[in-house]
């Protein structure tokens, strides 16, 4: 058990067909890969949706057996200052690797938005000078952290969050393969806490399995340590009716269970965002109050009184005349 | 650049034109013994800098007037280099630490440390007792109310540590933003704005020296438009001379360009309240911001101009809203959002008021 490979790595797709989510984008990249002439690309999207995986699949498909020598991967844990960009990347771009005709070496820069502007400027020239032999693939969370000269040399490809159904399907698949005992509410909990991030979902699944054996809702929330969304949902719905007593009872439960005010408030936001029964006006006002309270909490004031004041504001929304 | 403001700035404490009691008291302070840390505060253009330089001259002689510009470089812990320009003479150094933004703490610590260390050599070499008392360097820090909290705490510690070798003179407009710990370590010197008649007196003096014939009505007008800012009044006088001399009593007083621009903006807002007009106003606000006019100033001036033309019944509401937006502007990072919010709110309230007024007459 101690030598077990993390499932995130074990079940990382190696072929395009295995990649979950963002089908259109992935299919588009596959079209490129078949022709061989892939442009420089920037993949942007939230964490855990398959950016690095897709690039690696693409590289494997394009380069086949030369995959090891012809790919250089640098992420944020490597040194990526200006000098490294010039030296390491330039040297790699200059080395000769035998490749099938029309194929290029690939340099993968993960978490590219954390590179300093100076390093990105240095990268710009390198991209141009070695465009005949090397293609670049940058992965980042937000595309506007990449300087414009690089954006104009690349195709920007967006990755979206995975849908709940997609995450669920993959999790069930892994459960079957690994013989994990699970309950329906456990899977629901995993999907909820993952929020479209496959890495998070699989990681939590493995932790729950290893820690508690049976994957049910309770255990998942123990692992993720978040206030149970059902309690929060009830709390919000009582607020929408103006019932402060019921709402307060739940808040008190959560507070005495020891959850941090920050967690409670951010979960209230998450639940309100996705709630289907609240009218738009209430949602708007709720989110507004939650935002202001969150700000107060971050400034250091996360007492039960502040949280209760938030509930009071929420409950009053339905009562106040305009 | 030899503007009247510089030419006629008094260089000695005896030659100051107003707050004379304070001037003689300062003189006594300097000659009596040691100089404590000073915190000089008061509205803009009241004469804080003038008094500080005069005090320094009293202390060190006319050597303080020979100024040179120096560039200093400091390194932060994260190896980042910060450059800052200072104005100094052989006896003092003047710097605005908030120029560098959030790294102001580093500037204060390093600068004072450097000065203190270079001074120690001079102190041991001095024999004369009286001389020894003056063997310190003076550091003038301007705009201390813009310093971050970190910087102010660092300052407080540094003030104590290096008391022997340097004295600080802190300058600001208002002491509210200066932490009490610093206020208690300094001697506070409040420089109030001169009165209208004092300003008129100085304007007349300058006119006489420049052989200009200055009608009293014009002098009064200038003194009033300057709202207690002597620097502005003298600049206005010179600008008026450039625009039209000989002076006429009913000559227009020349306002700074941004004030006129804001006044025009306020008029635009009063003229029409539509989304299109809001768009135009926003462009104007952007113009002001890109020409470096501080958002605080824009807000105040705009509000004043709007209130001049607002009906009393909604004035209270407008001021309350203005306070709310100004508060948010202070806390937030994009002043344009709050300025625009205020203008939009003004338009909405004004429109509402007009509709109600119209309805009443039906």
């Amino acid at each position: 058990m101690a030598n077990e490979v993390p499932w995130v790595e074990k079940y990382r797709p190696e072929k395009f067909t295995e990649i979950v989510g963002n089908e259109e984008t992935v299919a588009r990249l596959e079209v490129f890969s078949r022709q061989g002439n892939v442009p420089n690309i920037i993949l942007c999207g939230p964490p855990g949706v398959g950016k690095t995986t897709t690039i690696l699949c693409l590289a494997r498909l394009l380069l086949g057996s030369s995959f090891r020598e012809a790919v250089l991967e640098l992420n944020a844990s490597n040194d990526r200052g200006i000098d490294v960009v010039r030296n390491k990347i330039k040297m790699f771009a200059q080395t000769k690797v035998t490749l099938p005709p029309g194929r290029h070496k690939i340099i993968i820069l993960d978490e590219a938005d954390s590179m300093t502007e100076g390093a990105q400027q240095a990268l710009r020239r390198t991209m141009e000078n070695f465009s005949k032999t090397t293609r670049f693939a940058l992965a980042c969370n937000t595309s506007d952290k990449i300087i414009e000269p690089i954006q104009s040399r690349c195709a920007v490809i967006r990755f979206g969050k995975l849908s709940d159904a997609q995450v669920l399907a993959k999790i069930i698949d892994i459960c079957r393969k690994e013989n994990v005992s699970y309950a329906e509410d456990g899977l629901e909990a995993l999907v909820y806490t993952a929020q479209g991030d496959m890495r998070q979902a699989i990681g939590n699944l493995q932790s729950t399995h290893v820690g508690f054996g049976h994957v049910n809702g309770k255990n998942v929330f123990k692992v993720c340590d978040e206030p149970h969304p059902l309690i929060i949902k009830e709390m919000i719905e009582y607020c929408a009716k103006g019932d402060i007593d019921e709402a307060y009872a739940r808040m008190q439960t959560l507070y005495s269970l020891g959850y941090a005010a920050e967690d409670i408030v951010s979960n209230m936001f998450r639940v309100t965002k996705t709630n289907q029964t609240l009218p738009e006006y209430l949602k708007l006002e709720f989110i507004k109050h939650i935002g202001l309270t969150h700000m107060t909490v971050l400034q250091g004031l996360g007492s039960l009184l502040q949280l209760t004041a938030l509930l009071a504001d929420l409950c009053q929304t339905i009562e106040i005349k305009s | 650049m030899a503007l009247y403001v510089d030419k006629y700035r008094p260089k000695d404490l005896e030659k100051l034109d107003y707050h004379k009691k304070q001037a003689s008291w300062l003189k006594g302070l300097v000659n009596g013994g040691d100089l404590p840390h000073l915190l000089v505060y008061g509205p803009s253009g009241a004469g804080k800098k003038t008094r500080i330089m005069a005090t320094l001259k009293e202390l060190f002689g006319s050597g303080v007037e020979r100024l040179r510009i120096e560039q200093q470089v400091f390194t932060t812990q994260s190896k980042k280099k910060i450059e800052i320009r200072t104005l100094s003479s052989n006896y003092h150094i003047e710097v605005n630490p908030s120029d560098v933004g959030i790294q102001d703490r580093v500037v204060i610590q390093e600068l004072l440390k450097n000065i203190a260390q270079t001074q120690n050599v001079a102190v041991t070499a001095v024999q004369d007792d009286k001389e020894r008392k003056k063997a310190f360097k003076v550091v003038i820090l301007t705009e201390v109310d813009r310093l971050s909290r970190d910087a102010q705490h660092a300052l407080r510690r540094t003030m104590e540590k290096y008391m022997q070798s340097c004295r600080l003179i802190l300058v600001c407009n208002s002491t509210t933003k200066v932490i009490p710990a610093i206020r208690s370590r300094c001697l506070g010197i409040r420089v109030p704005a001169p009165s209208s008649s004092e300003i008129v007196g100085i304007l007349n003096y300058i006119a006489k020296k420049e052989s200009l014939n200055l009608p009293q009505e014009l002098a009064q007008k200038i003194a009033q438009s300057s709202t207690g800012n002597l620097r502005k009044a003298i600049l206005m006088l010179e600008a008026c001379r450039v625009k039209q001399y000989p002076f006429s009593a009913d000559q227009d007083v020349i306002l700074p360009d941004w004030e006129i621009y804001i006044r025009d903006t306020a008029n635009e807002i009063i003229k029409e309240q539509t989304p299109q007009k809001l768009f135009d106003v926003r462009q104007r606000l952007y113009e002001l911001l890109s020409h470096l006019v501080p958002p605080q100033l824009i807000f105040e001036e705009l509000l004043q101009r709007l209130l001049e033309k607002t009906d009393d019944s909604i004035k209270g509401r407008i001021i309350a809203e203005a306070a709310l937006y100004e508060h948010r502007m202070h806390l937030g990072s994009k002043p344009i959002f709050h300025l625009e919010g205020f203008v939009a709110k003004y338009m909405a309230v004004y429109c509402e008021y007009q509709e109600e007024a119209a309805a009443m007459f039906d």
């Binding site: 390491k88 104009s152 006006y281 | 120029d99």
Partner: protein, 546 residues
């Protein structure tokens, strides 16, 4: 291939090896313009470059100690390097470019792994020394490939040490001017940082008489022409692998690249590569798109990936389309706040754009004003922008506050935006132009020039500067004049004229949602044309002034 002789022998060998493999080249290299007529840059700019060459190079021996220096600045993809190359080729001038060498990797084992075949690059020589050597020797001695032709030295990659210590760079430039034998051309891509100001402050520009030519984003008409030319050439050369793009694709490429020709060519390449059959297969394979998506999708592969997507998302928020019926009811006293549910979930729209909260908020703010139906809704919406900024004031490392802030802003907007009575929405989307960093640069300049008068920027700007401008004392330095001219407000802002253009534009029927992608940009294009045309003229006047 253009006659560019480079300082690095390595690149020459590689390029000759791959010349056979020209299919591996990207379109940028393959279809680069070879003659002046093909350049997509405004004719006047090209003439400026040519006249500079005429003055300073052609068969003229300039005075000793005064090697001319030319600076080309401009946004990315505006044609600086390409214009230089083409003009130089035309006039038979050799360009010697300095490329940053690989310095010795100090201690990492990984570093040594990459040193194949004992390639030893440059021994302990510092980058600066290498740079100085290159430009001095390059200017004095011909390379083996040169004949008697003229040469210039090109510097596009500035050693990073000069960014940290600009004085050393200025010193290097001075020495070059004193001893160099041929002109030096420096190309600087202006991003949002203040590199131009640091490296070339006004006093250095004056001292060394550096001529600056500022390139503008490429006008849409020229973009269109360039793209058409490339399409024609590509269809001849690429054969089967090329699919002719639809007009709507070309249109969306032009609109989304915003004057950046390199980006346009890249996008075009993405949309045209692949045989028609493969593209058809691709279309078939796609999952069942909703009716909304299908229109945008059929405009080509690349359409969704361009920055057009950002504008689409803005449209989704700002148009805030709703269903017909009210589903969730509110009690009587809040009846006026009832609305049918919106068709889009704002948080999802924002997440799919993959841009930062800061940029999206600024873009919303810049464009929302076209959608304010009445002053009341304007006031309510502006309130939410203010609120969003307020919520975001505290630093939150986990990023939750960012999402909260944008959520508040977006929902507030969608809720309060109302249609003006009788008018339908209109709007063309623009990127925000206000750049905080330029203002900070200006503030820096003000402090530098007017330090003798005070150290407080606020005091300088509010009192001293406006009056100094009026008084005009005779002993102002040139630098101080520059600053004054930039700081003093012009009464009639240039901006106003542009705004009138937009509001008179066609107001189109907003029933067709996807028209955000189509008709919007027709109107937008006309505006952009007038705008860039006006901007260009304005620019040129400024330069003549020098």
């Amino acid at each position: 291939m253009a006659k560019i002789s480079l300082g690095m022998k390595r690149k020459a060998t590689e390029s000759s090896n791959l010349e056979r493999n020209s299919e591996a080249q990207s379109w940028i290299d393959r279809f680069a313009p070879q003659s002046k007529e093909k350049l997509a840059v405004h004719k006047k700019k090209i003439e400026e470059v040519e006249s500079w060459f005429a003055r300073n190079l052609i068969s003229k021996k300039f005075e000793k100690g005064k090697a001319p220096i030319l600076l080309l600045v401009g946004p990315t993809g505006s044609g600086k390097t390409t214009s230089l190359r083409v003009v130089a080729q035309d006039l038979d001038i050799h360009i010697k470019e300095w490329l940053h060498p690989i310095t010795q990797e100090s201690n990492t084992a990984q570093g040594s792994a990459w040193r194949e075949g004992g390639q030893q690059d440059y021994p302990k020589e510092s980058v600066v020394e290498h740079f100085m050597d290159f430009i001095f020797q390059g200017s004095r001695y011909n390379s083996l490939f040169d004949n008697d032709s003229q040469r210039i030295i090109l510097l596009e990659e500035i050693p990073s040490i000069f960014l940290r210590k600009p004085e050393e760079f200025h010193e290097a430039l001075r020495r070059y001017q004193a001893f160099g034998r041929c002109p030096l051309v420096i190309i600087l891509c202006e991003t949002s940082s203040s590199r131009e100001f640091k490296l070339f402050p006004p006093e250095i520009k004056r001292e060394l008489q550096i001529h600056t030519i500022s390139f503008n984003p490429i006008a849409n008409t020229l973009l269109h022409k360039a793209i058409r030319d490339i399409i024609i050439e590509a269809s001849k050369v690429c054969g089967k692998n090329f699919t002719h793009p639809m007009d709507s694709v070309v249109e969306s490429v032009v609109q989304s690249c915003q004057g950046d020709l390199r980006l346009a060519v890249n996008l075009l390449e993405m949309n045209c590569m692949g045989t028609a059959k493969k593209l058809a297969n691709f279309e078939k394979k796609k999952p069942k798109a909703t009716k909304k998506d299908s229109k945008a999708a059929t405009t080509g592969i690349g359409a969704k990936d361009s920055s057009l997507y950002l504008f689409h998302s803005l449209g989704k928020i700002l148009y805030s389309k709703r269903e017909d019926k009210i589903i969730h009811e509110l009690p009587q006293h809040l009846k006026l706040y009832e609305r049918p549910p919106t068709k889009e979930v704002p948080e999802e729209v924002f997440e799919r754009t993959c841009v930062s909260q800061d940029l999206f908020t600024r873009m919303l703010e810049n464009n929302a004003v076209n959608f304010y139906g009445s002053v009341k809704s304007a006031s309510n919406c502006a309130e939410f922008f203010s609120l969003g900024d307020h919520v975001n004031a505290t630093w939150d490392p986990s990023g939750v506050l960012d999402s909260l802030a944008i959520s508040v802003t977006m929902r507030g907007l969608m809720f309060h935006l109302e249609k003006a009575k009788g008018k339908t929405h209109f709007g063309t989307f623009k990127k925000p132009t206000y750049d905080r960093r330029k203002t900070d640069d200006l503030a820096l300049q003000v402090r530098h020039e007017f330090l003798m008068h005070g150290t407080s920027t606020e005091m300088l700007v509010s009192d001293i500067l406006p009056y100094t401008f009026i008084i005009r004392p005779p002993d102002l330095s040139q630098g101080q004049w520059d600053v004054l001219n930039q700081c003093v407000l012009v009464r009639k802002s240039q901006m106003n004229t542009r705004q009138i253009e937009i509001s008179e534009k066609d107001v189109f029927d907003e029933d067709d949602e996807v028209r955000v992608g189509e008709t919007d940009f027709e109107a937008g294009e006309k505006v952009l044309e007038t705008v860039s045309g006006a901007a260009e003229e304005f620019e040129i006047e400024e330069i003549d002034f020098n």
